[in-house]
C-alpha cells in the first residue's frame, strides 16, 4: 500500500537473495562430495557402494583397520575430554563464584587464552610435556585428550559461565548449606542439576571439537578419526570423501538437535 510495505518487501527480497546465495556457496562443495562418492569409476554411472561399505562395520574393521581404529580413538577421546573438562571446570568455576570472586578475571583469562595460542604452536610447546606423559602413562592415543581439554577450554568456559550466570549459585548453596548439606552434596545435588543445559552444551561443543581435531593428533603421529581420514585420502579417495561428508553431516545433526534442547529449557 505505502512506503512501509514496499520497504518490507524489499528487505525480504534482500534477505532471501543473501541467504540463497550463501547457501548455494555452502552447499555446492557438499554436493560435490556426495556426487564424487557416488561415482562408479569402473563401470560408469552411479553406485552406493562406498556408503554401504561405510555402514558395514565388520567390513570396515577388516579392510580399513586404520579407519576403525581412528573412529574408536576419537570416540574414546571425546568421552575422556568431556569428563576431564567437566571435572576440571565445573567445580573450579563454582568454587570461584562462591568463595574466591577475586579470581574470576584470572580464571576467565586463562580459559580464553587458548583462543590466542594457535594449536600448531601448542603442539610445538607440548612436545616435551608429552615426552613425560608418554613416559608416565604410556603411548595411548587417549592421552591426547589432556591437550584437547585445553583446546575446548574457551568454548566450555563460555557455556558454563552463561549457565552459572543464569542461576544464583551463591544463594542456592547458602540455602543448601543452611539446611546442613556438605560441599560435595551442594555440588552434586544443587549446582549440577541446575547447570544441566550449560553442561550439556559445553559437552556437545567439546565433542564436536574433539571429533574434528587434526593438528595435534597428526603432528604427534596419533591416529584419530581425522588423521585416519586424511591418510585414507591418499589411497582411497572416494571412501575418504564419504567419511568426510558423513562426519560433517553427523556434526550438523548434533548441532541442529542441540539448538532445540537449549531453547526449550530457557522458556
Amino acid at each position: 500500500m505505502s512506503t512501509r510495505h514496499t520497504e518490507r518487501r524489499k528487505r525480504a527480497a534482500l534477505r532471501w537473495t543473501v541467504i540463497g546465495l550463501t547457501l548455494v556457496f555452502f552447499l555446492i562443495p557438499l554436493y560435490g562430495m556426495l556426487e564424487f562418492t557416488t561415482r562408479d569409476l569402473i563401470n560408469g554411472g552411479r553406485t552406493g557402494k562406498f556408503w554401504t561399505t561405510l555402514v558395514d562395520v565388520p567390513q570396515v574393521t577388516e579392510r580399513y583397520p586404520a579407519l576403525a581404529e581412528g573412529f574408536a580413538s576419537s570416540m574414546a577421546l571425546a568421552l575422556f575430554t568431556v569428563v576431564v573438562m567437566l571435572l576440571l571446570l565445573v567445580p573450579t568455576m563454582t568454587w570461584v563464584r562462591l568463595r574466591l570472586p577475586g579470581l574470576t578475571r584470572t580464571v576467565e583469562f586463562i580459559c580464553l587464552l587458548p583462543l590466542t595460542v594457535p594449536a600448531i604452536v601448542l603442539v610445538v610447546g607440548l612436545t616435551p610435556v608429552y615426552a613425560w606423559v608418554t613416559y608416565l602413562l604410556g603411548e595411548g592415543t587417549v592421552w591426547l585428550g589432556l591437550a584437547y581439554v585445553i583446546l575446548v577450554l574457551p568454548y566450555a568456559y563460555r557455556s558454563l559461565d552463561a549457565g552459572l550466570r543464569a542461576i544464583d549459585v551463591k544463594t542456592l548453596s547458602e540455602a543448601a548449606r543452611s539446611l546442613g548439606a556438605s560441599w560435595l552434596r551442594v555440588m552434586w545435588q544443587i549446582v549440577l542439576p541446575n547447570l544441566r543445559t550449560a553442561v550439556l552444551s559445553a559437552s556437545f561443543l567439546s565433542v564436536a571439537l574433539v571429533l574434528g581435531e587434526f593438528t595435534i593428533a597428526n603432528l604427534f603421529s596419533r591416529k584419530n578419526l581425522q588423521v585416519a581420514m586424511f591418510e585414507l585420502g591418499k589411497s582411497d579417495g572416494q571412501l575418504s570423501v564419504a567419511v568426510g561428508l558423513a562426519s560433517l553431516v553427523f556434526a550438523f545433526v548434533v548441532l541442529f538437535a542441540m539448538s532445540f534442547v537449549g531453547r526449550k529449557e530457557k522458556s
Binding site: E35, I110, P114, T116, F214, F230, V241, A251
Partner: protein, 284 residues
C-alpha cells in the same frame, strides 16, 4: 574455612593449566632463543630471516591470506548475519543456518579440503560439468595455490565463523532504535550511518580480528589440500616436525611458533585497545 583453605579448591585447575598451557608457552618462548643443548642463542631467530629461508615469504603469505579472508569473510558474514537476524527468531531457517555454520566454522578441517577437491579438482563435479558445457576451466592447479584455492576454502569457514560471532551483536540491535530514529526525522540512511553502524562497529572490528587469528592459526585444511610445498607458516612449522633437523637449528620450529604468537598477540593488543575505547558506552 580460611581463604588459604579455599585456594586448595582451585589448585587442580591451576596445576592443570600450568602443565598443559603455561609450560608449552614457556617452552616455545625459551626454546626460540636456545640451541640444541639449551644454551642461549639468536641463531634460530636469525635463521628465519636468512637469505635462503622460506619463512619470510610464508609469513607474508599467511598474513595476506588471513587478512583477505578475514575482511571478505567479515563483510559477507555480516550481511548474512543481518539477513538471518530478520528471519523469525525460532524459525527452522535460522536454526538450520546457524547449525550449518557451526559445523563449517569449527568442524571442517580436513573434510573441507576434501569437499573442495571433490568439486573443483580436475575430476571435480563442477569442473566436469563446466567442461561438458564447453567451458574450458584450464588446469585445476589454482585449487592448490595459497592465494587462490586456499583462499576460497578459507572463506568457506570464515564466513560461517563471522555469522556465529556477529549474529548476537546484530540481534542486540533494538527495534526501538530504528523507530526512535524515524520519529526524530531520520531516514534509513541516517539510521545505518549514525545509529546502527556506530553501534555495531566495535563488534564488527572485534569479529574481523578474530577471523584473522582464526585463519592465521588454521592448519588442517591447508595440510589436507597442499601436499607439495609449505607456503604458509603453520605448514612450515609442521615441516620442522618431519624433516631432518639441521645441526644447530633444532629449535627453528619454536622460533616460528614464537613469531606466530607475536603476530596473534599484536592483533589481540589492537583488539584490546579498540575494545577499551568502545567500552565507554558498551554494557557488559
Amino acid at each position: 574455612m580460611r581463604p588459604s583453605g579455599a585456594l586448595v579448591g582451585v589448585a587442580p585447575f591451576f596445576v592443570y593449566t600450568t602443565v598443559f598451557l603455561l609450560i608449552p608457552t614457556i617452552v616455545v618462548v625459551v626454546g626460540a632463543f636456545a640451541d640444541g643443548s639449551g644454551r642461549p642463542t639468536l641463531d634460530n631467530v636469525a635463521a628465519l630471516g636468512g637469505a635462503n629461508s622460506s619463512f619470510l615469504p610464508a609469513l607474508q603469505h599467511s598474513v595476506v591470506l588471513s587478512l583477505v579472508t578475514a575482511l571478505a569473510g567479515a563483510v559477507i558474514g555480516a550481511v548474512l548475519a543481518y539477513a538471518v537476524s530478520t528471519a523469525r527468531p525460532d524459525g527452522l531457517l535460522k536454526r538450520f543456518i546457524t547449525s550449518l555454520c557451526g559445523v563449517l566454522a569449527q568442524f571442517g578441517g580436513v573434510a573441507l579440503a576434501f569437499a573442495f577437491m571433490a568439486t573443483f579438482s580436475i575430476q571435480g563435479f563442477l569442473t566436469v560439468w563446466l567442461n561438458s558445457l564447453g567451458l574450458d576451466t584450464g588446469s585445476s592447479i589454482w585449487l592448490y595455490q595459497w592465494d587462490k584455492g586456499l583462499m576460497l576454502v578459507y572463506l568457506y569457514f570464515q564466513i560461517p565463523l563471522m555469522l556465529i560471532v556477529f549474529l548476537p551483536a546484530v540481534e542486540g540491535i533494538k527495534p526501538q532504535w530504528r523507530e526512535a530514529t524515524e520519529t526524530l526525522g531520520g531516514t534509513t540512511w541516517t539510521y545505518w550511518t549514525k545509529v546502527a553502524g556506530p553501534i555495531l562497529l566495535p563488534s564488527f572490528i572485534g569479529a574481523t580480528l578474530l577471523l584473522f587469528t582464526n585463519a592465521f592459526s588454521a592448519y588442517a585444511t591447508a595440510a589436507a589440500l597442499i601436499s607439495q610445498a609449505s607456503p604458509i607458516v603453520p605448514l612450515q612449522i609442521a615441516g620442522t616436525f618431519t624433516s631432518e633437523v639441521i645441526l644447530g637449528q633444532e629449535n627453528v620450529g619454536k622460533a616460528m611458533a614464537l613469531a606466530m604468537v607475536v603476530v596473534v598477540a599484536l592483533v589481540m593488543w589492537v583488539y584490546a585497545a579498540l575494545d577499551k575505547r568502545a567500552s565507554r558506552w558498551l554494557v557488559r
